[in-house]
Amino acid sequence: MKQIAIVAYQQTDSVSDAGAVNEVELIMPVLARTFKQAGLKSAQDVGFTCSGSCDYLQGAAFAFVAGVDALGAVPPIKESHVEMDAAWALYESMLKIRMGHADSALIYGFGKSSPGELPIVLSQQLDPYYLAPLWVDSISLAAMQARIMLDRGLITERDMAEVVSRSRRNAMNNPHAQLSGDISPEDVLAEETYLSPLRKADCCPVSDGASAMIIATVEQAKAWGLPYVIISGIDHCIETHNLGMRDLTDSVSTRIAANRAGMNAGKVDVAELYAPFSHQEIILTRALGLDEGTSVNPSGGVLAGNLMMASGLSRIGEVFNRIVKGEARRGIAHATSGPCLQHNLVTVLEQGENA
C-alpha cells in the first residue's frame, strides 16, 4: 500500500467564544496558514478535500456547505464531508489516496459550540426513542462512568486531579490552549464538585475553533520538498450504543483500533488522546497499555481546549508537530466520538526521512 504522510498542520486558538465570526471566517485563516506551510495556494493544489463538522453545533442544516466558500473551489474540486470529527475525514482521504484517485488531500474540521449548550445539545445524539427524551447530557454520562471507576476502586479522585494538573501544566507550552496554568492536584481537589464526582476541571471546556491538515503520498511530499511524518497506520472501531452492555471502565474499541493500526510494532514516544474528561484519559492510557515511556498529551489534550469536530484531527496534528520538531520519533493519536468513548480512531505516526 502507498505510504502517506502529513506535510502541514495548523489550528486556531481554542477560545470559549469566537464572537460574531461565522464558520467561513473561522476556517479561512487556518486554511491560509496551512496552505502557506505546504507552499500551496488553495484547495486547487491538492487532489481531494474532506471536512468534518456537525450541523447541530451551528443549529442549521448543511454547516459544511458554507465551508466550501473558504476553499477557492472554482473551478470545481473533488470534495466530500463527514458528519464526524475531521479525524474521520482524514481516514476517508487516506482511502482516496490509496485507491489512486488523489496524491494529496486537504482535511479540515470546525466547530462553533459557544452559541448552544453543548452538553445538552449532545444529549440528542443518543437513542432517539429511549435515551434522548431523558435529555441526559454528555457530562452526566461521563460522571456516571467516573463513578463506576471510583466505586470499583480502579481510580481515585486524586488520580483524576493529577491528570488535570498535568494537562494544565503541559498546556502552558501550548500557545493555542484555552486553559493552562501551574495548578497542582491539591488545587484541583480543593474545587467543589460540579456533577459529582466530576469537578469542572475534570471536564474539557467548551471551545470554538478549527484545524486543518494536508497529507500527501511520500513521493508527493518529497517532490514538494517538505518535512513529512508518515501515517504508518490508521484504524477505527465502534462499540454498542447501549451503555448498559459496555464495560465503561475499559475502551475495547480503542484497543482493537490500536492493534489493527499497528501501534505495538514499535516504541510509542508520544500519545495524544482525545479524552474530554480526566478519568477517560486513564481509561484510554490503560486500554492502550501505555507506560512511563510515553509522553501522554504533552499539548494539554482536550482538557486544555476542545474544538468539537476538529479535536481528533488536532490530536494527530499535535503528534505531527512533535515528530517534526524532533521531540519524538514515533507516536499515536486517538480520536473519539459518541457518549462515553463509543467510537474510537487510532493513528500511528512515524518520522519520515526529512522530518
Binding site: M1, C54, A61, F62, V68, I77, E79, S80, M99
Partner: protein
C-alpha cells in the same frame, strides 16, 4: 490504479409517506438485511459499514449512526458517516466503494436513509441563520428561478416538465417499491395540479418519503464468487463548487459537467447517449431531466428537452436512453437515500435484476446524484462486465 470492486447485494425498503411501523433503526436494518439476503451473506461477512443521510435535523437526531451501530451489526467494526447534502446517497456509495477500491477492505455494507416523517424537512432547510439572509424557500423555491432561466434560454415548450412528470410516474408504476403509484397519470392531470413554485406544479415535484437503501460492495475475488451477477464499478467521481460565485452557471453547473467528464473517462465512455444503456439521474423537479440531459452530455446545449419530448428517455415509448426506469426521485424521495437509490438502481439494471422496469440487455448504466444549490455532484458508472 484503483482495485476492482462490485455491487454484490442490493436491498431497499418500500418507499412511503410514513413508516410508522418501524423505528429509524428498524428502517435501516430492513434495507441492510435485504441487501445481505440478496448477496447471500450474513453480518459476519461485513468488514465495515458506511452510513449516509441528509441533514440530521430531518429526524432530529445528531449523528444517528452512533445509535444505529447495533441495528447495523457494527460492534467491533469501523463505521463512517457521510453527509454531502442531497448528493449524500451517491457520495456514500462512492466512499463505501473507496473502502474496497483502496484495497483496505474486502467487503463492506453501505446504507443510506431518511425517515422524513420524523420531522419536517422544509423547517430543517429553512431555519434562520444569524449571519445570512433568511430564504425560507425550501428546495422548490430555490430551484424554480433556475428552471425558469433554463426555459428562457432553451425556448423549451411549457409542457416538457409535465411530460417528465408523467414519464417517471409511469416508470414508477412498474416498480413495486416506488412511493407514488400512478399508472393512470395523464399530462392533463399534471397540468391541472396546483402551482407550488412557478413553474413547478405539485405533480412535477418529488414526494416526501420514508425509506432506506443498502448495498454490499465486494472486491474482485469475492464478487467473482458471488451467487448473483455483480455490478462492476467502472468509474467513480465527485465534484463540488460554491453555492455562489461571480459567473457561476446555475442552470448548467461546471461541477456537474466536470464530474461527468471524469466518470466517463474512467469508464471509456465517449458518447453517453450511445455508450450507456440507461441512467438513473437525480431529478427531484421535472425540469431537471432536460437540464441534466445537457449537463451530462446526452444532448447538446439547449436541446435536452427535445430528447424528453421525443420519448428518448421513456421506457414505455421504447426510447434509446431510458432515464429513471425505477420512477426516479419524482416517484420516491427519502432524501438521504435518494442518491444511493439512483446508484443501486443503475446496478440493478446491469445485473439484469430490475424486474418490470428492466432495460433489456442493459450492460452499462450511470448513477447520478446532486445536492446543495446544484453544487455537489456524485456519479458512478456500473457495468455487467469488468471492462
Amino acid at each position: 490504479m484503483a482495485n476492482l470492486a462490485a455491487v454484490v447485494g442490493i436491498g431497499q425498503t418500500k418507499y412511503t409517506t410514513k413508516r410508522t411501523d418501524v423505528s429509524i433503526a428498524g428502517l435501516v436494518r430492513e434495507a441492510a438485511v435485504n441487501a445481505l439476503k440478496d448477496a447471500d451473506l450474513t453480518w459476519n461477512d461485513i468488514d465495515a459499514v458506511i452510513v449516509g443521510k441528509a441533514p440530521d435535523m430531518f429526524e432530529g437526531v445528531i449523528m444517528p449512526e452512533i445509535y444505529l451501530t447495533d441495528a447495523l451489526g457494527c460492534n467491533g467494526k469501523p463505521m463512517l458517516r457521510v453527509h454531502t447534502a442531497g448528493s449524500v446517497g451517491g457520495s456514500t456509495a462512492l466512499v463505501a466503494a473507496s473502502h474496497v477500491q483502496s484495497g483496505t477492505f474486502k467487503r463492506v455494507l453501505t446504507v443510506s436513509f431518511e425517515k422524513q416523517s420524523e420531522s419536517n424537512a422544509m423547517w430543517a432547510l429553512s431555519n434562520p441563520q444569524p449571519f445570512s439572509t433568511h430564504l425560507n424557500a425550501g428546495a422548490g423555491g430555490y430551484f424554480a428561478p433556475i428552471i425558469r432561466e433554463y426555459m428562457r434560454r432553451s425556448k423549451a415548450p411549457y409542457n416538457v416538465g409535465i411530460k417528465v412528470a408523467v414519464k417517471d410516474r409511469l416508470h414508477g408504476a412498474r416498480n413495486p417499491l416506488a412511493h407514488l403509484q400512478k399508472p393512470d397519470i395523464t399530462m392533463q392531470e399534471v397540468e391541472d395540479s396546483f402551482m407550488l413554485w412557478d413553474p413547478i406544479r405539485f405533480l412535477e415535484s418529488c414526494p416526501s418519503s420514508d425509506g432506506a437503501c443498502a448495498m454490499v460492495i465486494a472486491n474482485e475475488e469475492l464478487a467473482t464468487k458471488a451467487p448473483k451477477p455483480p455490478a462492476w464499478i467502472r468509474g467513480v467521481a465527485m465534484r463540488s463548487e460554491p453555492t455562489m460565485y461571480a459567473g457561476r452557471d446555475e442552470v448548467n453547473p461546471q461541477a456537474g459537467r466536470d464530474c461527468a467528464a471524469d466518470v466517463y473517462k474512467q469508464a471509456g465512455i465517449t458518447n453517453p447517449r450511445k455508450d450507456l444503456d440507461c441512467a438513473e439521474v437525480y431529478v427531484p423537479f421535472s425540469w431537471y431531466e432536460p437540464m441534466w440531459l445537457e449537463n451530462l452530455g446526452f444532448a447538446p446545449k439547449g436541446e435536452g428537452w427535445k430528447l424528453t419530448m421525443a420519448g428518448a428517455t421513456s421506457l414505455d415509448e421504447g426510447g434509446d436512453i431510458p432515464w429513471n426506469c425505477s420512477g426516479g426521485v419524482l416517484s420516491s424521495n427519502p432524501i438521504g437515500a435518494s442518491g444511493m437509490i439512483r446508484f443501486a438502481e443503475a446496478a440493478r439494471q446491469v445485473r439484469g435484476d430490475a424486474g418490470a422496469h428492466q432495460v433489456e440487455g442493459a450492460k452499462l448504466a450511470l448513477g447520478h446524484a446532486y445536492g446543495g444549490g446544484a453544487q455537489f455532484f456524485a456519479m458512478w458508472v456500473v457495468g455487467s462486465q469488468k471492462s
